[in-house]
C-alpha cells in the first residue's frame, strides 16, 4: 500500500460527506415542541384590535399557525403558496404578525392578498419566544387537541406542502 495515497483517501471520505451534506439543510432543526401542546396565546387581532384571538378558540380543528411579518423577505416568497392553500380550503391558516408595525402589516396584506382566517398581533415577539421561533417565516401544524405536529422553518414551498403538510393534515383531520 502506497502511503502517499493516504491523503487522497482521506480527501475522498471528506468529499463523500460534503456531497451528502449538500442534500441536507443544517437550518432544519428538529423542534423540541413537536408532539407537545402548542403554547397558549391570547392576542389582539390585526384587523380588529378591539377583539382578541385565543389559541383555546381554535381547538377541535386542525390548523396552521404561520409566523410572518411585512418586513420579512422569505414571507413574500412563500406568500403565493399560502394564498393558493387558502383558496383550496383544505386547512385554515391563522397568521401571527411577528414584531411588526400595524399599518405596514395591513398594507402588506392589502397589496399581496390575505390567506389568513384571523391574524394575531405579536408586536413584542413574546409568543414567538414561546414557540421557539428562530426567524420568520415559520409554520406550525397543530392538531385538534392543540398539539404541535410539525414545524416548518423558513418559507413553505409547494413540494413541502404536497409531500409533508397536506398528507399530515388529512390524517389529523380523520382522527
Amino acid at each position: 500500500m502506497n502511503r502517499f495515497l493516504i491523503p487522497f483517501g482521506l480527501f475522498i471520505v471528506v468529499v463523500g460527506f460534503l456531497a451528502v451534506g449538500l442534500t441536507l439543510n443544517p437550518r432544519e432543526l428538529p423542534s423540541p415542541l413537536v408532539g407537545k401542546a402548542a403554547p397558549q396565546f391570547s392576542l389582539p387581532q390585526l384587523h380588529d384590535p378591539g377583539k382578541v384571538i385565543s389559541s383555546n378558540d381554535l381547538k377541535g380543528q386542525v390548523w396552521l399557525l404561520n409566523f410572518w411579518a411585512s418586513w420579512c423577505g422569505g414571507c413574500k416568497d412563500e406568500h403565493p403558496v399560502l394564498i393558493h392553500l387558502a383558496e383550496s380550503g383544505e386547512v385554515p391558516i391563522y397568521g401571527m404578525d411577528y414584531k411588526d408595525q400595524r399599518n405596514e402589516a395591513l398594507g402588506w396584506l392589502k397589496d399581496w392578498g390575505n390567506p389568513y382566517q384571523i391574524v394575531a398581533v405579536d408586536a413584542p415577539g413574546r409568543v414567538g419566544i414561546d414557540y421557539g421561533v428562530y426567524g420568520v417565516p415559520e409554520t406550525y401544524v397543530i392538531d385538534k387537541q392543540g398539539v404541535i405536529r410539525y414545524k416548518q422553518i423558513g418559507p413553505l414551498r409547494e413540494d413541502i406542502l404536497k409531500t409533508k403538510i397536506l398528507p399530515l393534515v388529512k390524517e389529523l383531520q380523520k382522527q
Binding site: F4, F8, F11, V15, L18, L22, L24, P26
Partner: protein, 664 residues
Amino acid sequence: MIPEIGHYALILALCVAVVQGTLPIYGAAVMNSSLMAVAKPAARGQFLLVLLAFCCLGYAFAEKDFSVLYVAATSNSQLPLHYRLAAIWGAHEGSLLLWMFILSIWMVAVSFFSTHLPDAMRARILGVMGLVSVGFLLFMLTVSNPFERLIPAAMDGRDLNPLLQDPGMVIHPPMLYMGYVGFSVAFSFAIAALLGGTLDAAWARWSRPWTTVAWCFMTVGVAMGSGWAYYELGWGGWWFWDPVENASFMPWLAGTALMHSLAVTDKRGGFKAWSVLLAIMAFSLSLLGTFLVRSGVLTSVHAFATDPKRGLFILVFLAVVIGGSLVLYAWRAPRVGLGGGFAIISREGMLLANNVLLVAALGSVLLGTLYPLFLDALDLGKISVGPPYFDTVFLPLMTPAIFLMGIGPLAQWKQASLPALAIRLRWAFGVSLVTAVAVPWLMGQWTPLISLGLLLAFWILTTIVVDLRERLLQAEGGGGIGGRIAMLPRAYWGMVLAHCGVALFIVGVTMVKGFEVEQDVRMNVGETATLGGYMFHFDGTQQVNGPNYVAARGTFRVTKDGSEVTVMYPEKRRYFVQNQTMTEAAISPGLLRDLYVSLGEPLEGGAWSVRLYHKPFIDWIWGGCLVMASGGVLAVSDRRYRLAWRRKEAAVPATAQIARPTVS
C-alpha cells in the same frame, strides 16, 4: 452596455485561461519553447480582461445601475459610494469576481517575477494557475454571473447587509483573498514541480517568498476579520470558532507549517514530499473554505445565500483540483527521495515536530468544523461544535508547539545536544518561569492558565534574546553592534520579529481571558456604573440620522480617579431598507486596555440595558498578528531573494550571502 462588456470580458478571459492552462503545460511536456512562451502573455492578457470586468462591475455600482441583478441585490441609492464599491464583494457573485481578480493579480506577479526560473517551470506554474482560473471563470459564467440583468430594473436596491457597512468591509475581504488566493501560487509551484519531477532545494527557494507573502496577507486578513467581529458584532468577543472563521484559520495553519517546512527543504533538502503536501493542503483548504461558505452545508453567521447548484459546482471543482493534485502527489512523491538524515534532537527534528503539531491542530479544527455535518450525514442527530471543544484541543497542541518554537532556532541542524541546549536556555527558562508566576500574583489574580500563557510568551521572548546574543557575539568582523546587527540576514530578523508577534499575541489572549471584566447593567439617564476602576456616567441617548439609517446614540462619560478619560458614543442603528438593527459598540482603545460599551435594548423612561467591558491587552492580539506579518515582509525583503530576482541564476551559494554584510 457596460455590464455586457464586463460579461464579455469574462468570457474572453475564460478562453484565454483555457489556452493558458493547456498549451504551456503541453509545451513543457514536449519541450516546445514557443508553446511554453504562451504562458506569460496569456497571464497578462487574462489579468487585463478580468480587470476590465472588475471595473465594469464597479462602474455599475458607482452609477447605481439597478438593472444589474447583483447591484440591485447588494446596494441601495442611499448607500454611500465607498460602501457601494465595497459591495462589489458584498455577496457571492461579486466576491467570486474579486477572487478571480486577485488570482489574476498573482498570475501577473508570477509572470513578472519569474524571469529567473527555467522556462518549463514557469510555463507549468502559469499553466496550473490558468487551470485554476478556468474553474473559477466557469463557475462565475454558469451559475454565479455578477452581470446578470434584472429586467425591468428595480426602482431601488435591496441594500448591502448592514453588518457589512463598515470600514473593515472595504479592506478585510481583499486582504483575506490575497492570502487565500496567494496560496494558489505555492500550490502551482508544487504541482509544477511534481509534473516536472524537479522537486529540489531550488524549487523550495523559489516558492518561499511567494508562500511568505501570501501568508502575510492571510495573517493580516484573519486578524482584521477578528477585529471586525470584535467591534462590529457588539458581543465583545474576538474569535468565535465560527465555521467561516475556521475556514480562514485552517489555510493559515497549513501556510504556517508550509513556510517552516520549505525552510528545511531549502536549506537542508529535507521534507520535500511533506512540503509539497502542505502546499497542496494550504490551497485545498482555501478552496474548501470557499465551498463551506457558499454551499450552505454548515450554518454560520457569515454564510452567503445558498444555492445547491453552486454547492455542487464547487464540490465537483474541489474534487477535480484537490483530488487530481493528491493523485499526482501519490504518483510522483514516492520518487522524490529523502533529504539528508537527521537526529530527533536537531533543528529539523523540532521543525518537523512543530509541523506535525500544526497539522494536528489543523486537523482538529477541520474535524470540529465538519463534525456537525458528519453526524447529520450519518443521521446521528444535529449538534453544533463550539468554543469549549476548540479551546480544549487547541491548548494542549499549541503549548508544546510554542515550547519548541523557542528552542528550534537555537538548535543545530542535523544533530543537536540536549544537555547543551538545556544549559544555553537555563536562564531563559528561569526568567520566564519567575515572570509567569510573579506577574499574575502581583496583578492580584493567579490561575494556572494565566501563568501558562505568560510562561509561553516570555519563553518565546527570552529564547529570542539568548539566540540573538549568541549570534551577535559570533558574528565575526562586524566591529560595533550596528555592524553585527547588519550582518545577520534579514530573513533571520523576520523570523525574530514574527516570533515576537506570536509572543505579543499570546500575552493579549492570556490577559483578556484572565483579567477581562464585563457587566450587564440597566442604566437610567444620569446613572453611573463602575468597572475595572473606571466610572461610566450615562448621559442618555439622542437620535442621530445617518445616510441610510437612524440611530439612538448614547453618551457615556468615562472617568478614572475623578479625572475624565474619554467620552464614548455607542449606537443602536436601524437600517431602513432591510429594517435591521445593528449594535455599534463604542470602543476606547489603549495599549494596556480597551473600554467597550454597547447598547442593549431600550427600557422605559430613557433607560437602556448596557454592556460594559474592560478588556486588558486585547489590542495586543491584533498587534501581535501585525508584527507577525511584518516579520514575514522583512523576511521576504532578504537579500537572497532580491539577488535571485535580479540575476537569471538563482544559484548563489548560501554561505556567500550570509558572510557579506548588507549595507544599511
